[in-house]
């Protein structure tokens, strides 16, 4: 009654999806992020209407709250990873699925499957809202630009979530992971912008959704930005898996 490796893998993925879906915090995080995002987009839209700047961009306004939005996805990643270490669930997980590398990989895959639609819906709703409010005031945008920016933003948020999950899995504790990630994304990175090269996960990843015409000098193309962020995320997930295999649960 040997089970094929493929079916075993599917089972692990389904179990990991099941785990994420039945964790109420995940849904709270996504819902709160969605509401805050809409509020902030409304604020940005009003601000750009008030300023009366010449032709505010629908995409720039709709995606203006990306820097806040990423906080929600950082939390999502940390929650997914650190929830294992609450209530001793990790012991159950590892006695049911003792293949550590495959288990943690599947957890990240399950998280990706949840994050992609969530990120897309969130970013798209922001852009739609801005498009509706700025209708007539804003410069026209090409549909392919919108799609490109939305895909870029979705990819950015998904990769950021994976990176956060990897940090969470390495640290095993919610608050330290949160302090480090928020500290980097919101304190260190904004202050050191211009001092550090654009090869850090957030600075490189930004080019995935920024429009080429957005004024500042574009150092990277969206594909280059995506590539650099992907290298960061994938290598951190790999480090997390290696450490997870070596250390005591």
């Amino acid at each position: 009654m040997s089970v094929s490796s493929g079916r075993k893998t599917i089972r692990i993925l389904r179990a990991e999806l099941d785990k994420l879906m039945t964790l109420p915090w995940i849904w709270t995080a996504v819902t709160v992020t969605f509401l805050v995002h809409l509020l902030l987009t409304a604020a940005f839209t009003s601000a750009s209407l008030q300023e009366g700047a010449a032709a505010p961009g629908i995409l720039n306004t709709g995606l203006a709250s990306m820097s806040y939005l990423q906080a929600g996805f950082i939390i999502l990643g940390i929650l997914a990873a650190c929830s294992e270490y609450t209530g001793g669930q990790i012991r159950t997980t590892l006695t049911v699925i003792p293949w550590r590398g495959r288990q943690l990989f599947m957890k990240h895959l399950a998280l990706t499957l949840i994050t992609i639609p969530a990120a897309f819906i969130l970013t798209a709703s922001g852009v739609l809202y801005a498009g509706w409010r700025l209708d007539g005031h804003a410069a026209g945008v090409e549909p392919h630009e919108v799609i490109q920016a939305l895909l870029g933003a979705t990819g950015y948020l998904t990769l950021t979530t994976l990176l956060s999950a990897a940090i969470g899995a390495l640290l095993r504790r919610t608050l330290p992971a949160l302090v480090i990630l928020l500290g980097y994304y919101f304190i260190i990175s904004p202050w050191s912008r211009g001092l550090l090269p654009a090869y850090f996960p957030d600075t490189a990843g930004r080019y995935m959704y920024l429009l080429p015409s957005s004024g500042e000098l574009n150092v990277l193309t969206p594909v280059q930005g995506a590539g650099i962020l992907m290298i960061w995320s994938v290598s951190l997930v790999a480090v997390a898996i290696v450490v997870y295999r070596i250390r005591d649960a």
Binding site: A43, A47, I90, T174, L175, L178, V179, L182, F186, S192
Partner: protein, 261 residues
């Protein structure tokens, strides 16, 4: 007094607190240094409008240490993360040792305040040589009144973190809210562009105690972090009102809530 001593020793035995203290002492100096480096040329050329802010920006935007302090002081009592998963919450023990909840609450708030004040003084001591090293003779002298305002701002921020965590019983939400709000992309700054009411938010009002350059509200409000809208005194008063109301609610909720709830 005994309860207060107990709270201090409880706090100082948490490894996370030491990290918070380290961040609290160093972050302002680092931010002040980065800010000074960025403004150095303009200051030497004599065209900088931000000279009076040098050093203070570190105190205004480097409050992460006391935020973590305030959050940890409460969330450590409720934590359930442990590899052995016993799930024992320290709060039950704390309430057996100090049976009066109000006393426990005051002792904890007192411990958080005292540590914040000391931490802010330490941060100032580190900022002075930093700005002096970078700006040399151009470095502005720090005034006592404004430094006192900064100490108040830090303590109030720590107490806000403390009260919010007590209400939510977990550290994630208050930590995220306050950390983001202490950053360059603060919600308050964004909201200030939309409505003047945002100037009454605790952090925005509190910063007026020590971070203002353009005097009076007569100049056009641009929503910049460095515009003054209140006088330092009213700014402090507004933030204090927020702290008082929040701590009042937290005290009532903490008093009435079942430990297990």
């Amino acid at each position: 007094m005994k309860a207060f001593h107990a709270e201090i020793s409880k706090l100082l035995s948490l490894p996370g607190i030491w990290l918070a203290l380290l961040i609290g002492a160093l972050a302002p100096a680092v931010i002040a240094a980065l800010d000074a480096i960025a403004e150095k040329e303009a200051i030497i050329a004599g065209v900088s409008t931000r000279l009076p802010e040098m050093g203070y920006s570190g105190l205004g935007l480097g409050v992460q240490g006391v935020i973590i302090l305030g959050v940890l002081a409460v969330s450590s009592e409720y934590r359930t993360e442990s590899s052995e998963g016993a799930g024992g919450q320290q709060i039950s023990t704390s309430l057996m040792v100090v049976s009066s909840r109000l006393q426990l609450f005051l002792a904890k708030a007192g411990a958080v305040s005292v540590i914040s004040i000391l931490l802010c003084i330490l941060a100032v001591i580190l900022i002075v040589p930093t700005t002096r090293y970078i700006l040399g003779d151009y470095a502005p002298l720090l005034e006592w009144t404004r430094l006192a305002g900064a100490v108040c701002y830090w303590t109030f921020t720590a107490l806000l973190a403390f009260g919010l965590t007590l209400l939510t019983k977990q550290g994630m939400i208050p930590l995220t809210m306050l950390m983001i709000n202490s950053s360059l992309v603060s919600f308050s700054v964004l909201l200030a562009k939309v409505t003047k009411l945002a100037f009454y938010l605790p952090d925005r009002a509190g910063m007026e105690m020590f971070m203002f350059t353009k005097n009076s509200a007569s100049t056009e409000v641009t929503g910049s972090l460095f515009d003054s809208y209140h006088t330092p005194f009213t700014g402090g008063l507004i933030m204090f009102a927020w702290v008082a109301v929040l701590l009042g609610i937290a005290a009532i909720v903490f008093h009435r809530r079942d430990v297990a709830a």
